[in-house]
Amino acid sequence: MDNLIVKKLVEALIFSSLEPLTLSYIKKVVGNYGDFDVNKIIKEIESDYKDKGINLFSSENKWFFRTSPLLNNYLKIETEKKRKLSKSTMETLAIISYHQPVTRAEIEKIRGKPVFKGTIDILLDLKWIKPKGRRETPGRPMTWGTDDEFLKHFGLRNINDLPKVEELESIGLDDK
């Protein structure tokens, strides 16, 4: 099996999968056919599709094809009706994504009002947040952080891709 076929195989594999594929999974499948530099192959595919209507993208090192975000103005026609999240849910999400791991009490302190159970529930249901273990302080409260679907939904490669917010940085993220 030559490199060209391996490249096709990786393309097909990622295209076919219902879920983003981890690098290790791709390596395992390709490994059945010989010793190939999967990282290099993926970089090649990424570059091949860079100027296409479909792009190869990774989020948390899981690979998937998606339509080019540059087409966002033209693909609106296709848009299915999506539930718009409330301001308070979006603010809670912002706090969780910039301050993770963060407890519910900390979110409430930052927003100056209670966080309703429903808010956490919505975000959890969307797989945008997940529990990140307990804080080792009295009461051992649960902390929250972002989940992979959050990154995928907002087209982020990893959590460091979050937009920079100078105002937030000047406050200092450890000042909870």
């Binding site: 930052i110 009002k113 937009p163």
Partner: protein, 244 residues
Amino acid sequence: MDIEKLNLNISGFEGPLDLLLELSKNQKVDITKLSILELADQYLDFIKMNINRLNLSADYLVMASFLALLKSRLLLPKDETEEFESLEEDITKRLLHYNAIKIASEKIQSLYQEGKDFFTRKQKNNDFFVSNKIVINASLHDLLKTYVSIEKTRKRLNLHIQKDQLFSADDAKLWLKYFLLNFNDQWSELFDFLPDSLINYKLKKSAIASILMASLIYAQKGQLQIIQDNEQRKILIKAKRKNG
């Protein structure tokens, strides 16, 4: 403060901090340079105007009392303690932080979003056929160890198997039958029929149990009669003739 501007519906705000932030914008200065006194006044006015509204929740009132306290301290002559300086600082910090979160929230919302700005494949058909091959996780070491252990157990069993030294129920039946044929007409004590050769206690014990059991078996078959007046008395047996 223009009262008209305060004529806002409280439900338009994401909590007291949000309201306070909105009010602070009237001062048209950097949050760090806000007049906290003015801000406190505006907030308290707003609360007074909306006090009759049922949807004014407790957190608005908590903030109001906090600001009232802060205001009273700010109005006092300059002997304020550090504690209250830090309270003033704290409200500025909270406003700054909350404002930053609002900016962050907007920035997140302005990112390209799946299902709005880009799409992934929705067709559910996977052209790949995925199967799980079961691979047995067994090492040669496991195999060898297992075998040694089997052999060890086997050797141990071989060493311990000895000739049965107990007086079995079958032995007792044969033994008793012999005496039944010879002592047919008188009552005799059951345990007189124990063999003489019972050299050890264990063997004797097994013989007593087996003889008793054998006697019960013959009694059940109607070939033997058994009597015992009470627990302390001896067990007597007599052969029973078929004709009576």
